[in-house]
Subunit: 353 residues, 2 copies
Amino acid sequence: MSRIPTPPAPSKLAFVPFVSVADMMRLVNTLGAEQVITELAGYIEQDFRRWPDFDKTPRVASHSQDGVIELMPTADSDHYAFKYVNGHPGNGKSGHQTVTAFGVLSSVATGYPMLLSEMTVLTALRTAATSALVGRYLAPKGAEVMAMIGNGAQCEFQALGFRALTGINRIRLYDIDAKATEKAARNLRGQGFDVVSCKAAAEAVEGAQVITTCTADKQYATILTDNMVGSGVHINAIGGDCPGKTELHPDILTRAEIFVEYPEQTRIEGEIQQLAPDHPVTELWQVMRGEIPGRRDARQITLFDSVGFAIEDFSALRYIHDKIAGSDFFQPLDLLADPDDTRDLFGMLTRAG
Amino acid sequence: MSRIPTPPAPSKLAFVPFVSVADMMRLVNTLGAEQVITELAGYIEQDFRRWPDFDKTPRVASHSQDGVIELMPTADSDHYAFKYVNGHPGNGKSGHQTVTAFGVLSSVATGYPMLLSEMTVLTALRTAATSALVGRYLAPKGAEVMAMIGNGAQCEFQALGFRALTGINRIRLYDIDAKATEKAARNLRGQGFDVVSCKAAAEAVEGAQVITTCTADKQYATILTDNMVGSGVHINAIGGDCPGKTELHPDILTRAEIFVEYPEQTRIEGEIQQLAPDHPVTELWQVMRGEIPGRRDARQITLFDSVGFAIEDFSALRYIHDKIAGSDFFQPLDLLADPDDTRDLFGMLTRAG
């Protein structure tokens, strides 16, 4: 009898660790969401502090009538990462998420992916981690109350992040949809927050030292008017994140000191698209390096004009890659062809047949 | 006894069909590689003929000392696609592929991915399909012999494509590495080709009506010198595809009529990076629409300055998406979060815990 060789199984080079939504939820629930947000904030701060090491580019957006699909790449000398993310404000009507995302971390030396991960849950966590980290630099001392205007998918993550990083435990909720507020109130009370549900944005901001705006309409909106914002407040503006989508009245912007992630992108996508292209802004990486002060006095209005930048996703993927090592929070995915002779892709194909 | 509800399984919205390398090889071996290349060429031709319908952008490249990682997005009004692809000429030394790739096809209406697919094998097939399709428009009538300079991973796919679309069955091989030529000769004879292995590029081009150059060095190289190219030849130049990487002597370029995919990208990456930025080129989509002639006479030298464009990957992903419908050539991947209430991502997370 002749020995028929079995075709060799793909080598380990062929496999990329894949973190599914179920894996991500297990990982987060095992560690606890506040713990994950806190650790993520540490990775993000570390990467912001070495900002000049990164290749940076505004995200590559493909706009349509219904929404936008974006690719957000960045790299340092060791790792490359990109995120795919969509934003479709009308998606809820058909039972789809407004925002879904996934991402890849790769080796710069070989170009090979090292991690493919869901990023719908992870983006919610890293966005909260970034906001809370920035809040630690900019919120007034002793802040205890946060207004949350917009009570959609991001809302509870923001609250957990601010509690973990700044100690804020009192949340004043408002959404144009009372059902969204009910949902957030229920979830946040379940996490031990002191929650007040409000019937208007003006009511929500009463007594708040931090105001978070996180609404999803793809249009110029005025969630906050000038008279609603008193001195000493920190505004964490999350929702305005693409051209034509803003949340704040321009008069607030001119009264505030504005902090941004990456000015080249924020001037296109953030609240400051309403201002002159040379309006002064402060880059957060310089604040985190201690080169520029954050909040300078108790009466100053500070504004984080958040749009979300690729380095935050890079940090998040790097964190997940570190966390899953030696765990079962991933499955190997046969994503890469790996012929025995790298020039013999065709031979690999025919031998498989 | 109380009934404890089981957590609902993720809905079908959460799952994205994933075509692994093993799935792709099964699909190709089931249909036959020539059949797949022929069908792919049909999809590519269809998409080239509706060129103005696409959002087009040069690929987004991240260069490093060792290679490049690129994202190649494009979209029409229904579908969005992108490919991730690396090019690392030194990868073979560590047993890695020079080029690996994967890609995603999405719905423009929802931003949701509809397909995640390996594209290392698929890129080899679509590159061959594009070359052979272009060859059908540009190769001299009655062409029977193709010279193949560079006998790496792409070589056999090119030969199969040209046989399927133009009838060429005689291949003259040359590579600076004799082992690569041996590998290609063995594979191609196994597919019924009439193969001649040559000891020099000048020998390989003797009597060839089509010359395919497909080498991988990331540097300016001169694979073809001016005296090697006679009248009436079609040159299919695949290997020069990034800044600083070319294969042809500029004197050949000035004697040839040059056909390109997307001039904005080819002027940066193709052979014509050696020419003035306004050197005339012909866009292939206009040839395929019949708006501009392809080959005009028997003595003309035609050159396809191929760099690979995102629409070819779009076509390839659209083809695979159509082919896997109702088949088992994929597995469902839990890539997307799908909470019952789209605003309640946090509730989905906590209920999973």
